[in-house]
Amino acid sequence: MEGERRSRILGGMSSDARSVTIALVSTVLFFTVLVLVITRSPGWPEVKAAFFNREVFSEAFPEVLRAFWLNIKIFCVAEVFILAFALVIAVLRSLPGPVFFPIRALAIVYTDFFRGIPTILLIFILGFGVPALGLSGVPTSALVWATVALIIIYSAYVAEVYRAGIESVHPSQDAAARSLGLSRSQSLRYVVVPQAVRRVVPPLLNDFIGLQKDTALIALIGPVEAFRQAQIDTSATFNFTPYVAAALIFVAFTIPLARLTDWLNERSRRRRLVAGIAP
């Protein structure tokens, strides 16, 4: 009787509304069960007290959020330099002809080398090492040098993304530009690179997400950003909730980036379908 009525209700809906309803019901059921299982399991009170302590959270969250401002600043400054520097490396690596072999080789060595070094290692080398040299005219701030380390590492990754984009532009585009009498660098600047950059926006955003998370590594050489602040709060309270607060803040920042990446990917896929070609 009950089941019969439900199927009649669902049967009267459009198939879209029906899918949504089914998804909604199944989601609510699934998570209710999940929450029940977790909160009823032995040891949950201890976990809750250590990681999800309401008072600790409300005290730590604003402090961690304030410290997160530093992460955002590092992220923004680094990103600007990375986008520009990586493009230079990618273009150098795309220079044709035997004359440019040493420059190409240098660009290859750069990308290979700095993609191979653990980020934290370079942050330590530059962040502790360079200020200790006491060179005149060179910044002595560990924060500056740690940011430089991030720029160096991420430029190697982003250069490879750019290069893939440049190589994905069909050679006939360059031929068309050159046939108009444009020089090699004009063809790159006005025809090849603009198309390449458009194509690599989704994978670039992916690297943005990685960079945003890695700003937390800077905590290890001193500057008080979100992770370091959470660490301080944790040692003061002997409670891990500040870490959870920091994690939530990072996730709140990266999830919109991830959704934006998905959306851009989907859009460019649709556009290629509409155009009927995969250029």
Binding site: A175, R178, G181
Partner: protein, 250 residues
């Protein structure tokens, strides 16, 4: 006394790896002359055009455009290309630029015209070929025929001394071919010197002053269209044309 030839090829050779695709081409094209290159796919027509434009470096021989040797060492390749317009089978418009941006890029960056000047000149060309209402559209909004007409206008915007057309209708749906051919016909009537690689035999017969038959990298036979199409002397030309007629293309 005739004007000096607009284009001269002397014993031009070209190989890709070990395969020789042009085996010593000699050709002279007078100013205002329209020369059609015919021949099977792979006979070297496209390669020949790409060599004239210096997109492909030649192996041996010499090429002169308007009396200047373009294959001489040390010439400014960009300078030479500005005087030679080429239109490709696959249009090769710049997809990230509007129609007007496509046709003004060359004049602005290679000829250093200022934006307003280039735009005025570009608009005039678009008007002449009935494309002015498309000036702000991106290429993917245009039909194949319109795209190819824009590509022709883009080459014309550089005010070239000679135009090279590389099978410009081969990628088009049949119903779009006519609009492109009529543009080419108009150029011919305007006195543009052209070398046209084509599979459209009746068009070649109609528009060409001279038809050249290429076979496996050799220029086997050339002459006025009536002679080549009605009474070809070389057996390979005869064979090729018979195949074309059998396919209903002439």
């Amino acid at each position: 006394m005739n004007a000096p030839p607009c284009l001269v090829l002397q014993d031009v050779h070209k190989s890709f790896d070990k395969r020789e695709v042009l085996k010593g081409i000699d050709l002279s094209v007078a100013e205002h002359e329209v020369v059609c290159l015919i021949g099977a796919s792979g006979s070297g027509k496209s390669t020949l055009l790409r060599c004239i434009n210096l997109i492909e470096p030649i192996g041996a021989g010499r090429i002169f455009v308007a009396g200047q040797e373009v294959t001489a060492p040390g010439v400014d390749v960009n300078e030479i290309r500005r005087g030679i317009g080429i239109v490709f089978q696959s249009f090769n418009l710049f997809p990230h630029m509007t129609v007007l941006e496509n046709i003004t890029l060359g004049p602005r960056k290679a000829l250093r015209l200022d934006r307003a000047q280039a735009a005025a000149q570009g608009l005039e060309l678009l008007r002449r070929f009935g494309l002015e209402d498309r000036r702000d559209d991106y290429p993917d909004r245009l039909s194949g025929g319109q795209q190819q007409r824009v590509a022709i206008v883009r080459a014309l915007a550089m005010q070239p001394q000679i135009m090279l057309l590389d099978e410009v209708t081969s990628a088009l749906d049949p119903e779009l071919v006519a609009e492109v051919l009529s543009v080419i016909r108009e150029l011919a009537e305007g006195g543009m010197t052209m070398v046209i690689a084509t599979h459209e035999m009746s068009f070649a017969a109609d528009i060409a002053n001279r038809v050249c038959f290429l076979d496996q990298g050799v220029l086997l036979e050339e002459g006025p269209p009536e002679q080549i199409f009605r009474s070809p002397s070389n057996p390979r030309t005869q064979e090729f044309l018979q195949r074309i007629i059998a396919a209903g293309r002439l």
